[in-house]
């Protein structure tokens, strides 16, 4: 996928003006956000588990080389073929070679974010394979030629009406006068269409939520059961997983699973959690004959030693974007690449470079909600700040911002002048904003106020208020 990240501002403006998208996004606070809150309330240990989860991930990452070797050893002993890919291109080559050698025609896919990261579908399609996404949300965006706008709810930007229109346009083998009013009717139609694909697929590709070193297993977590049909009905099952997914033991992964569903959808547990170990056994009546695992690095090994290493703890639950005011306002596509929201703002510059993705960390109000909900306690705002610094240091910040920051720095180094200027500015804004409480337009700042309101200040600067509090002046 060609990054559209530099277009964030234009994308965001378009997103704000898109009534369909705004309607689709309006369900987030009462949906995923509220469900997470109640799931958390039902489990008093939730906060304590976050600490344990963070420690499990830190331990696994600190011994990543050894756990990868242990995982490889145990997976191979169970009959898996383990492949290593340093880059997305290498992973694509490995996968397309397996498909070619198998004489495959139809390739079904369970949801996998790293397959999006490496542009796997486009590559396989170029080589003539029919690639079918089977997660309902992924299917919806595949037939529209779109990319996911959320890491766990890829079609969250679509309304039911849009889905109905797409199905009518695409599924022309079905009677034109059929009713498609209820969501259940749309789901049933997709089930029927995709069931045929499952049954005729030669290769099934899934991602992995985790890999277990102890048993050499890969794990997928789904609600629809599509990942299981993908991996059980095709002759060949290929798993693609990034190297950071290895967890030592079943006990370790259990803690992470307790956090994942609750943080993601607010379920107690996802409907299907499947551990796969090797291909089908000689006596098994079903399951794939071949089982391949492609371990992808694509920059993770270098992130591990950097100031961004904590981001590798991510378990891709999506809570940070569900709770992000910017994501809630503009949706996922505005971010322009695979990973949206706060996690995207940290991952994207790491994966595609500061030049292409380095300004995404600016798309944040630094309100801190993402960090407060992240089950892995990743300090997302801090990491975004690191990227802002990197962007500034590399001279990639636009000149207008650089001049503004330089001006501020000049004042900030001269405290008397700073206070004077701040007092004057605040008093002026306060007088102008009296009675309204907020500005929807300001001279010299119309680009900023076009999409947001600036709260009017209350008349005195922070330093004045601080000094008064210190002296005990009642406010």
């Amino acid at each position: 996928m060609i990054p559209q990240t530099p277009e964030f501002k234009a994308n965001a403006r378009a997103a704000l003006a898109d009534p369909q998208l705004q309607r689709a996004l309006s369900g987030l606070p009462t949906g995923l956000v509220a469900q997470r809150t109640s799931a958390k309330a039902r489990l008093p240990e939730f906060e304590a588990l976050r600490d344990v989860g963070r420690d499990v991930r830190n331990h696994a990452l600190a011994h990543l080389d050894l756990y990868l070797e242990t995982y490889e050893h145990n997976a191979t002993a169970a009959g898996a073929v383990v492949h290593w890919a340093e880059t997305g291109a290498e992973a694509r080559d490995i996968i397309s070679r397996i498909c070619t050698e198998a004489g495959a025609r139809i390739v079904t896919k369970g949801k996998s974010m790293i397959s999006e990261e490496i542009g796997l579908n486009a590559d396989l399609e170029r080589q003539g394979f029919e690639v079918v996404e089977t997660d309902l949300g992924e299917y919806l965006i595949q037939i529209r030629g779109e990319t996911p706008s959320h890491i766990i709810a890829p079609a969250i930007h679509l309304t039911q009406d849009q889905v109905e229109a797409d199905f009518r346009a695409l599924h022309t083998h079905l009677p034109a006068d059929r009713t498609l009013v209820e969501p259940a009717e749309l789901v049933a139609e997709a089930r029927g269409v995709l069931r045929q694909k499952f049954l005729s697929a030669d290769v099934g590709i899934t991602g992995a939520n985790f890999l277990i070193a102890e048993t050499g297993s890969s794990i997928i977590v789904t609600n629809e059961g599509n990942g299981d049909l993908t991996q059980s009905l095709a002759r060949i099952h290929i798993v693609i997983a990034s190297i950071d997914k290895v967890i030592p033991t079943l006990e370790d992964v259990t803690t992470l699973l307790r956090l994942l569903a609750r943080s993601a959808t607010g379920q107690e547990f996802t409907t299907y959690t499947t551990f796969s170990t090797g291909p089908r056994r000689p006596e098994d009546p079903d399951g794939p004959e071949e089982y391949h695992v492609v371990l992808l690095d694509n920059g993770r090994s270098e992130l591990l030693g950097s100031e961004f290493s904590e981001v590798l703890r991510c378990i891709r639950c999506g809570a940070c974007m569900n709770h992000c005011p910017v994501y809630n306002a503009v949706g996922g596509h505005a971010y322009g690449w695979v990973y949206p929201g706060p996690i995207g703002s940290v991952m994207t510059p790491a994966l595609i470079g500061v030049k292409a993705g380095g300004h995404l960390p600016n798309a944040s109000t630094f309100c801190g909600r993402c960090e407060s909900v992240c089950p892995m306690k990743i300090p997302l705002p801090k990491l975004m700040r690191h990227w802002r610094e990197a962007e500034f240091e590399q001279g990639l910040t636009p000149p207008r911002y650089r001049r503004g920051i330089a001006l501020w720095a000049w004042f900030a180094k001269r405290p008397r002048l700073y206070h004077l200027a701040a007092r004057f500015g605040i008093a002026a804004l306060s007088a102008a904003g009296r009675g309204k409480g907020r500005f929807s337009w300001l001279p010299f700042a119309s680009a900023w106020t076009r999409d947001r309101d600036l709260p009017a200040p209350q008349g005195r600067t922070f330093q004045q208020l601080w000094a008064e509090t210190q002296r005990g002046v009642p406010r």
Partner: protein, 240 residues
Amino acid sequence: MSPIDKPADRDGAREAILGKVRKSLGIDGQSGARDAVVERRIERPVRHLTPARVLKPKADLEALFAATLAAQFSTVLPVAEFSDVPGAVATYLRQTNLSGRLGIGSDPLLEALAWNGEPGITLVPGRAAADTEVGVSRAIAGAAETGTLFLASGPENPVTLTFMPATHIVVITSDDIVGPYEDAFNVVRKLYGPGLMPRTLNLVSGPSRTADIGGKIVIGAHGPQRLAVVIVKSTAPAAT
């Protein structure tokens, strides 16, 4: 063991990745101490925090298991004896107007039951086919923590029966109901050996579902639309 030759990946990708990982971690050369830490962790897995909701007497766990499953859109069918299973299944299928052709594996406990005593029931042994409407499996364990069934694939329990039919019926004895997932994993370890697993271990907590159409929850996505769980109370299965 694998039937296929491993295609030649780019030479040295493995070494390059592991090398970069070690460099990032600031490790050069072998360190016996790190190896020992990892070995111990794998050989003697540590249990972390167990939710208090499962620190309860067995009878309460059984009640929690059934209640949680029911809350997750599943039908719970309690029976007193193993020999009551065919009757309960037949009644359920009749009441819900479903086919009596049951896809079923070679699980010895299920196979030994007197299914032919139930009019309308026929068994179709082996894996699920495209037209299998009802699948019957036996769970090796159930975790009360979230009403989660543990199903191990194999000839006794073909994995396709869990996902292809529109209706899935799972039989579990109350003996096999435990509290936390960790206890269920220990059942797996006991059956397969430490560090070993069936081809697939499926943790199932309800019928399939999706919220991908306009964010509304629909029960019945690609997997089963209905999940019925027969819980056998008796500790002594009639059929062994």
